[in-house]
């Protein structure tokens, strides 16, 4: 690299730390026929360091993350199971260690090299590749899918991918992406069209063994925005989302979405037993004087009548500090295990938001 290029580089650095304590209970299998709720107490700490360098359309960006989980044996076992099941990406750049009451995780959260020009955008590496139009449910987002039905808000995931964007003159642009993974691969192409009255997206792709095609749209309607996605798989059944969000007087923001998942197993058993047909989600949020934010999330499974409610209060203070306190409430029938006449265990799967105990959490974060 020549001195001239080095001089033209602009560096940026920053990060954030966040600590949270959660108290709830989880349904724990003590034996083949014995499920019991046990205490779940978990302290989480996460530190992220960000680094970026930009010059003449080129940009390198990276994030390193360290996570620490301290809790009782059930909490740490649940965390370990979740982390072990998560997709490590194309290159497993994660060090996971822990036993008993402490789990540590160090990983490369983002690392990408990007190039942007008038007609072309290129990127390779570990990054967010968010192909969604809607919020709670995003069937078109095949590269960095986020489980928004999880009662615990998840981190924005990454995808190890190669990405290209073509931006010819006019309202239409094209995007292509390929993401290899240790177990399977994903690829997709989409056309985006931004017109004054509508944003449209058409997508085709291959997602872990099945091909898909879909479309999304956003349109301003009655002072709000109507957003929708439809996704059709060759083998699996289609999924549809429709939602609407707008700001009301008094800075009250309301988002509502409805999701139809044809993939559901009507009998409630088998591979798709955790997928139900219809869901509804609502977010009501109000920010007051920048420092206070009050939010209420509500997610319901219309197929079985179970639901989750999560009130959340955030308070900013000082320069970059934020405290939050929230709670979960669940309503739904739990999974039950009984014995048939021969003594073999018979599992009766509960509702979608069953098997979950109300809980509370408090957290403090600092960004710089």
């Amino acid at each position: 690299m020549t001195p001239a290029v080095l001089l033209a580089l602009r560096f940026s650095a920053g990060g954030d730390v966040y600590c949270q304590f959660t108290e709830t209970r989880v349904l724990w299998p003590f034996s083949q026929t014995d499920l019991r709720y046990v205490p779940f107490r978990l302290g989480q700490g996460r530190g992220i360091f960000r680094f970026g360098a930009t010059s003449a359309g080129l940009r390198f960006y990276a994030e390193l993350a360290h996570e620490l989980y301290i809790g009782n044996i059930y909490a740490c076992s649940t965390v370990l199971e979740g982390l072990a099941a998560s997709d490590p990406g194309f290159l497993d750049l994660e060090a996971l260690s822990g036993s008993g009451r402490a789990v540590q995780r160090d990983y490369l959260r983002r690392a990408s090299l990007e190039y942007q020009s008038r007609y072309l955008g290129l990127a390779v590496g570990r990054r967010v590749l968010n192909w969604s139009t809607t919020f709670f449910w995003t069937p078109l987002n095949i590269f960095t899918p986020q489980n928004n039905l999880s009662p615990v808000p998840e981190d924005v995931p990454f995808s190890d991918c190669a990405f290209a964007a073509l931006r010819p003159p006019g309202p239409v642009s094209l995007e292509f992406a390929y993401s290899p993974s240790s177990d399977s691969w994903r690829a997709g192409a989409r056309a985006l069209c931004y017109l004054p009255w509508i944003d449209l997206v058409l997508e085709a792709g291959y997602n872990r063994g099945d091909s898909l095609a879909g479309a999304g749209l956003s349109v301003n309607l009655l002072d709000g925005t109507l957003r929708a996605e439809a996704c059709f798989y060759r083998r699996a059944e289609p999924r549809y989302v429709i939602g609407y969000d707008r700001m009301f007087p008094g800075s009250i923001y309301i988002l509502a979405e409805y999701y139809h998942n044809s993939r559901a197993d009507p009998a409630g058993y088998g591979l798709y037993s955790f997928y139900k047909k219809d869901y509804a989600g609502v977010l009501v949020s109000r920010t007051y004087d920048l420092v206070w934010n009050f939010a209420l999330y509500g997610l319901a499974c219309a197929s079985d009548g179970s639901f989750m409610a999560m009130p959340l209060i955030k308070r900013a203070f000082g320069r970059g500090f934020e405290a939050r306190v929230g709670a979960y409430y669940f309503y739904g029938r739990d999974t039950e295990i009984s014995s048939d006449s021969s003594g073999s265990p018979v599992i009766t799967k509960g509702d979608y938001f069953g098997d979950l105990w109300p809980g509370v959490f408090v957290g403090v974060g600092y960004g710089f």
Binding site: Q116, S117, T144, D199, T225, M247, F368
Partner: protein, 243 residues
């Protein structure tokens, strides 16, 4: 001096308002400002680069730096009355609901509309001069602006003080439809920026909240700059985020 006095006497409220808008916006404007949002026990600072094309009603703002780092690279684009936002950390581009235009922008005491100028003082308000007085370097005119019935604004009226000659805004008071003062804007530190003498600091103070204000400080500004169409292209927002 006599010539200036005759000129001032012939000014109408509409001409003064148009002069203020021409001074502070021009037809096209490119610049950078620092926004400090101050609360009794909280403070946040943003550095924002902006491009404004008044004739074609389009503007672009990029948060180049924020004190918490959370909003770095966030892009706001207004084009033909529509509004998009790009959030780099979520990797998501959003068409914003029109109802968000009148909402506080990034928690500040300014609305989206204040920043992207969806409404125009000269086009959306009827104005009249309600007083004038001599000040050390000329005359200070106080004007009352009442919005047209169909104007896309939330104010009941605005009282604006302008120093002439020079069309220098001094302060503005914003009232709601019940006649209650809801915010005051003070303009200060008049200096030459982009070849024009204008206030470099704009302080926005909400009417009923003690210890709370938002300060905009112009760092640089250029007027009459040719801005290519691609700057306001929704497809290019990711590019401006990383610029």
């Amino acid at each position: 001096m006599a010539i200036i006095s005759v000129f001032l006497l012939s000014l109408t409220a509409e001409e003064i308002i148009r002069g203020v808008e021409d001074l502070t916006r021009g037809t096209t404007t490119v610049g950078t400002y620092r926004m400090e949002v101050i609360r009794p026990d909280y403070q946040n600072t943003y550095e924002i680069r902006f491009w404004d094309d008044r004739d074609k009603s389009r503007s672009l703002m990029v948060v180049t730096k924020s004190s918490t780092g959370k909003d770095d690279g966030t892009v706001f684009l207004k084009n033909r009355g529509k509004f998009w936002m790009y959030l780099p950390k979520a990797g998501k581009k959003l068409r914003m609901p029109p109802s968000m235009m009148m909402d506080p922008w990034m928690g500040s005491d300014l609305t989206n509309d204040d920043l992207v100028h969806e409404s125009s003082l000269s086009e959306d308000y009827d104005s009249r001069i309600i007083s004038e007085k001599e000040v050390p370097h000329g005359t200070r005119y106080t004007l009352e602006l009442v919005p047209h019935e169909d104007a896309p604004v939330v104010w009941g009226k605005i009282i604006l003080a302008v120093d002439m000659p020079g069309y220098i805004p001094v302060w503005a008071e914003y009232y709601d439809e019940e006649g209650k003062k809801v915010r005051t804007i003070n303009y200060s530190e008049v200096k030459t920026l982009g070849g024009r003498r204008m206030p470099a600091v704009v302080e926005v103070i909400p009417g009923d909240k003690k210890g709370q204000k938002t300060t905009l400080t112009l760092i640089d500004i250029r007027f009459g700059v040719s801005i290519p169409d691609e700057r306001f292209d929704v497809n290019q927002m990711e590019r401006w985020s990383e610029e």
